[in-house]
């Protein structure tokens, strides 16, 4: 008999928690977009998964990828959940695609300076 595989559990449920949707309602979310919970917004009425995202994001900002990592959800699913929560006013994206605002040249220099400072 094949023993049950614990790791499969999250993946089967994953697209159930998004009502079967694979695409987020907005395309502006990057995997490094920083999101946090809107202070004082009640999670009442949210599904357990959306509530878990809310709870995680209450403590401060995390990237979409980190939310996925902490909740053991695929990034694609996490993007759907976070998009929904942004639409419903529970989550805000802090650094919404900053790369468009910051010149690449300046950003690269800041990255370089930051890396050099670590040596």
């Amino acid at each position: 008999m094949t023993p049950p595989r614990k790791r499969e559990q999250g993946l089967v449920r994953a697209y159930v928690v998004t009502d079967g949707r694979a695409h987020p309602t907005r395309n502006t979310l990057d995997i490094v977009s920083l999101v946090n919970a809107v202070p004082g917004r009640s999670p009442a009425g949210l599904t357990p998964e959306r509530r878990a995202v809310m709870d995680l994001c209450r403590g401060g900002a995390l990237s979409v990828a980190e939310v996925a990592g902490y909740l053991a959800l695929p990034i694609s699913v996490t993007k759907v959940l976070i998009s929904d929560l942004i639409d419903s006013g529970h989550i805000i994206a802090r650094a919404a695609i900053p790369k468009a605002q910051l010149p690449d040249v300046q950003l690269l220099q800041e990255v370089l300076d930051g890396l050099r400072a670590r040596l």
Binding site: D30, G60, G69, S76, L102, E110, R116, L119
Partner: protein, 210 residues
């Protein structure tokens, strides 16, 4: 050694204590760390990350059904792909995320997510298996993603003159080739620095498509 740590399970901390991004941070940048299986991506990310590296698993059957060809892949675990990532705070206002992922074409959705807005990629290579780096380099070129190559120096792996490695990998003259030890913080940092310096030299950076 530049391979995956023994305790892979520890990379998946559902309910683990989150390490939040500082309130002052306004910008999040990302760099990809790519290469073939067991080339040291996870080690590299773990060496540089200030948070415990996180792992996500992406189902492939859904993610790219129209391009995935899983025929002849008997093991169901092949229908997910794992990605490890970590974070470095570079200044009060800037964090850098490092994403370590396999360079295989069928992970299309994941690649698109990772590549979008990425500054560039560091290709890790192993002198014992240089030819295995072709796939990922080809993929990066296809997406127009600039990269540098870092040879992860495994204990006991042969050392070749730089010219020979360049030739074996068929590198363009201006593509940086660096040696690094993915276990060593300074060495790994220098590899990233070489990449970013290379990115700075590129004429007229093309705007990122979205």
């Amino acid at each position: 050694m530049g391979s995956a740590p023994a305790s892979d399970r520890a990379l998946v901390p559902p309910g683990g204590t989150p390490s939040y991004v500082a309130d002052s941070v306004r910008t999040a940048a990302k760099i990809l760390v790519v290469g073939h299986f067991a080339v040291g991506k996870t080690t590299f990310v773990g060496t540089l990350s200030e948070i415990r590296p996180l792992r996500t698993e992406e189902p492939l059957s859904q993610a790219g059904a129209h391009v995935d060809d899983l025929a002849g892949v008997p093991d169901k675990t092949a229908t997910t792909v794992a990605m490890d990532f970590g974070r470095l705070t570079l200044s009060d206002s800037l964090v850098l995320y490092l994403f370590g992922a396999p360079g295989q074409k069928r992970f299309t959705r994941l690649w698109t997510d990772m590549l979008q807005g990425a500054l560039g990629a560091l290709v890790l290579a192993d002198t014992r298996r240089l030819h295995q780096s072709f796939d990922v380099m080809g993929l990066l070129e296809e997406f127009g993603m600039p990269y540098a190559v870092a040879v992860n120096q495994f204990d006991g792996a042969p050392h070749f003159p730089e010219e020979e490695i360049r030739e074996a990998l068929d590198l363009l003259p201006d593509t940086p080739l660096i040696g690094c030890d993915a276990r060593d913080t300074a060495s790994s940092t220098k590899a990233l620095i070489a990449l970013v310096e290379h990115l700075q030299t590129r004429p007229a950076l093309a705007p990122q498509e979205s």
